[in-house]
Symmetry: C2
Amino acid sequence: MDVLITGGAGFLGTRLAKALLARGTLAGPDGRQQPISTLTLLDLAAPAAIDDPRVRVVTGDISDPAVIRSALTADTASVFHLAAVVSGQAEADFELGMRINFDATRLILDCAREHGKRPRVVFTSSVAVFGGPLPQQVKDSTVATPQSSYGAQKLMGEILVTDYSRKGFIDGRTLRMPTICVRPGVPNKAASSFASGIIREPLNDQPAVCPVAPETPMWVMSPRKAIEGLIHGHEIDGERLGATRTLNMPGLATTVRDMVGALEKVAGANVVARIRWEPDAAVIRIVNSWPGNFDAARAAALGFAADPDFESIVRAHVQDELGR
Amino acid sequence: MDVLITGGAGFLGTRLAKALLARGTLAGPDGRQQPISTLTLLDLAAPAAIDDPRVRVVTGDISDPAVIRSALTADTASVFHLAAVVSGQAEADFELGMRINFDATRLILDCAREHGKRPRVVFTSSVAVFGGPLPQQVKDSTVATPQSSYGAQKLMGEILVTDYSRKGFIDGRTLRMPTICVRPGVPNKAASSFASGIIREPLNDQPAVCPVAPETPMWVMSPRKAIEGLIHGHEIDGERLGATRTLNMPGLATTVRDMVGALEKVAGANVVARIRWEPDAAVIRIVNSWPGNFDAARAAALGFAADPDFESIVRAHVQDELGR
């Protein structure tokens, strides 16, 4: 079977690609495991080379219909749609956010619809679809009221995935991801970028800036659990999802203070001392609009799992990215 | 001030136009009443002539950017966006529904954004954004889970109106309208078309078909209350709406049986005898996915009003449309 990952050169896309290649199979249209014959990685730039004959690389802008058509063919049985413009960037450049986060999602779904093969589509949404006055704990029945254009664009994408699934154009499932941390690499324009930065940079002997208060609640998920979740989300039988194609993913409810505390436990006080606390009103506004705690009962019942604590997230990062 | 009505040749658009011309003023950007100098009616075809020098007619497809640009100018202070493809048609022709119900809405909002004058935009949505397993009474806090493409497209439009308002591009307000009845004219492809037909046709000595069961719950609003609601929705200060730009409109909770009972009370048993009961599975599926009862607390607190009973709706129809 042919599998497509959009955002295939990104951090999650690359990890997912490696996990899928190692795994070797995915549920096919009939639910039975089938070998992955082609894994197409689509992104603006080519990913770091993965030495595997099954990998096909397509580079281009995902809002260009020709690019989508070359990446998503009549043979594509599964799509992991991860590509997006991050929250801070979508807020700063409204048109770019609409084009990449919404229009490209629609292009992908329309391309799948035109092929008529009803592929499984795993769409990554975000806790950023929630905002404003929220209950202490967000439930599966809580209305999504985004307070950022990123959240609004993701929410519209969710609605498309659900309606295209209802119409039988695709077999979609949307996963509302917690803040993924610790991300490797360099800071990006996501409002949540600091959540990885305050752990990653100090561990690399670099200074880090924390733009929010220590008591800020965070709903987080490790890269390991995110990859597990994406694959599990693909494997679930669409019949079990029924009409409700959107799932709040389980995460870990923590605070910035607890995250820094876990870092200190793993790496010591001198590492934590590299964090400077410099409030940034724009970041605070967006991050504080996100919920810090969920009762993700439906996803838990469907077999999705959260990280047990933040210390294990820090230790996994040290192991996976720093090799120690 | 310049005012635009999309769907201006339609039944509600024409009624709204007459009501606005009679009223003569609307709240301007500063909240104070200003005389309506130009009332632009945009629709596929020209409306029945309204003899008033303030009326400007623009005909064309609302999904054509050139048509929108000629109708919505830098002088447009208020937009009533009523134009839509109805539910049954949007379900049968997915692309048409996306183009008219969603893309055209976005074009209107983008045109307003480009002018940079932050007009008031009243967007008509629908109870069709709800569907599937629902509580006995839908509340303002109930998640919208559309089970039709029409509902999905309206819901995405709502999200745009809210985000464009948050960004300061427009001063938007979305009204989720109950089933409007009794509509004059001829049946259309709305799944709810029967709700008007079973009253209107018998009163015109014509046979009518009722495709749903007598016990089917309906959430309805008369044309009079709909026009009042649209104008009231325009007049409310955006500050009072805050971040929550979507309102469930108050309606009348009734059943098809009670509607027919009211018709009998007003017009007699021989009129009611013109209704044939012929179940239609496609209509039943869509109509039964809509909620029949709401607690529209927020809209009620903001001063919107519902009809008191169905008999008064039938009597108003007889008065307004049959002149007796």
